[in-house]
């Protein structure tokens, strides 16, 4: 992207760089910034990247994502780099790290899991089984979760 900026610099907010190409929409969904918000969001997809070949990029204005929100990202974009922007400058760099336990982030995708009954009150829990490659299992039934399905099962 170097010479020419595709999207203008933002004054305040969060920039998420190095999202795997084609996954920016999923990231938006995962961070729940696709509903009930009026923040301007710029989305750049499939731009050339030295590190990744192609990548996606998100600029979210007037919103500083907190660590808990960012950690959800790690499920689909573990190597994303995140910068908090204040007054056009990088105020903080954040590292995305997948938590050992994801509580009430997503439902187990297995159709016969006890948590499929929406009236059961205990929290949905997924646990990290392996970091590389990422493997997440349901705390209750132990089923391995398909990462693509998790996006559709966010709470």
């Amino acid at each position: 992207m170097s010479a020419m900026r595709r999207v203008t610099a933002i004054c305040n907010g969060t920039v998420i760089d190095h999202i795997p190409a084609g996954h920016a929409l999923q990231v938006i969904k995962m961070l729940r910034i696709d509903t009930n918000r009026s923040n301007p969001v710029s989305l750049v997809m499939n731009v050339p990247s030295d590190k990744m070949g192609r990548k996606d990029l998100l600029k979210i204005e007037d919103l500083e994502l907190n660590q808990e929100e960012l950690d959800r990202l790690a499920l689909i974009s573990p190597n994303a780099s995140v910068a908090i922007i204040r007054n056009y400058g990088v105020a903080e760099k954040r590292v995305v790290e997948l938590a050992e336990e994801l509580v009430n982030v997503a439902r187990c995708t297995f159709s016969n899991c006890i948590t499929q009954n929406p009236r059961e009150p205990l929290p949905h829990k997924l646990v990290l089984y392996s970091r590389d490659p990422i493997e997440v299992r349901c705390y209750y039934c132990g089923k391995r979760q398909d990462l693509d399905d998790i996006i559709d099962n966010l709470i």
């Binding site: 016969n112 006890i114 499929q116 009150p121 705390y139 209750y140 132990g142 391995r144």
Partner: protein, 310 residues
């Protein structure tokens, strides 16, 4: 933690110590010795699915130790009115000191363990875990061979859907057994599980031929091919009678080889086998009593005397 939801809740040392406790409890399980270790304690048997051996052996285990049992079935109770598992378990906590649960949904035992504070023993959750069955299987093998390490255990039949063989194979590997998996192509053990087992350094061979596996076997663990798993009759018919053992097949077996089966059997074990020295499946069903006694005591924090005298 005093819950037993999966075999991973027990370390190898704990498993061995439970098996030793179980051996000492055999005369109590047979009713030859009166040992009311659990007098005044109440067990809730929460069966949301059918069971014969598991439910009855838990009940016998509790009663032989002087405790009492509440039997629950989901038919005709508040569950039929739509009560959540969470709510039902709150009630159980008020009525009992320990609960055994079998449920059609996977994860139900862990969920119950999180919902209440009394100990939970998992007696089968969907296609998930059934650790007390694994304990009695290990006990039966130890009883016959005195060890698990280095034994060649042949698992036969439905290795794809059978929860019993999944958790048993994990446990056998932990104690250094070698596995031979015999099944028709469509009922082979899921790749995922075989990969996991191999990753932990296990020696595993797979085959479709039972006869050729008999001479080297120390244990043959037969399973029923479950009719209800097949979408149509024809598919079932193709594999239904594929593996059968009878008295005649024992001619090729090593001395001391035992035949096990979680039961019920259909046609895979011929009645002629019952009177051979190799048949161990009825003994195995009995072994559910002393092993479940030991598990109940462990979860309730009750120590089993080092010597159980007649």
């Amino acid at each position: 933690m005093s819950d037993v939801v999966t075999m991973d809740d027990l370390s190898n040392e704990e498993i061995m110590s439970i098996l030793e406790d179980s051996a000492r409890l055999v005369p109590v399980a047979k009713g030859e010795v009166h040992l009311p270790l659990l007098e005044g304690k109440v067990l809730a048997n929460m069966f949301y699915e059918n069971s014969t051996r598991t439910r009855m052996s838990f009940e016998t285990a509790m009663k032989r130790l002087g405790g009492s049992v509440l039997n629950f079935s989901s038919i005709g109770t508040s569950v039929a009115k739509g009560e959540t598992l969470f709510d039902t378990m709150q009630m159980v906590e008020g009525y009992a000191d320990i609960a055994v649960i079998r449920h059609p949904r996977q994860g139900a035992a862990q969920y119950s363990a999180d919902a209440i504070d009394i100990p939970i023993l998992n007696a089968g959750d969907g296609a998930g875990n059934h650790p007390t069955q694994t304990m009695l299987d290990l006990f039966t093998i130890m009883e016959a061979h005195g060890t698990i390490e280095g034994l060649n255990v042949v698992l036969v039949g439905d290795l794809r859907y059978g929860r019993t063989v999944h958790s048993l194979s994990h446990a056998l590997i932990r104690f250094g057994a070698e596995l031979t998996l015999v099944s028709p192509e469509i009922l082979m053990m899921p790749d995922e599980i075989v990969k996991d087992l191999r990753a932990s350094g296990a020696s595993i061979s797979e085959s479709t031929n039972l006869a050729s596996a008999i001479p080297d076997a120390d244990v043959i663990y037969m399973t029923r091919i479950q009719k209800e798993r097949f979408p149509d009759e024809d598919e079932y018919a193709k594999v239904a009678g594929i593996y059968m053992l009878g008295a005649k097949d024992m001619d090729d077996a090593k001395d001391g080889m035992i035949v096990m089966h979680p039961l019920p059997r259909v046609s895979e074990l011929h009645p002629s086998l019952d009177s051979t020295v190799n048949a161990r499946y009825f003994q195995q069903a009995f072994n559910g009593v002393p092993t479940r006694m030991a598990l109940l005591c462990r979860s309730l924090g009750v120590e089993i005397p080092k010597e159980v005298k007649k």
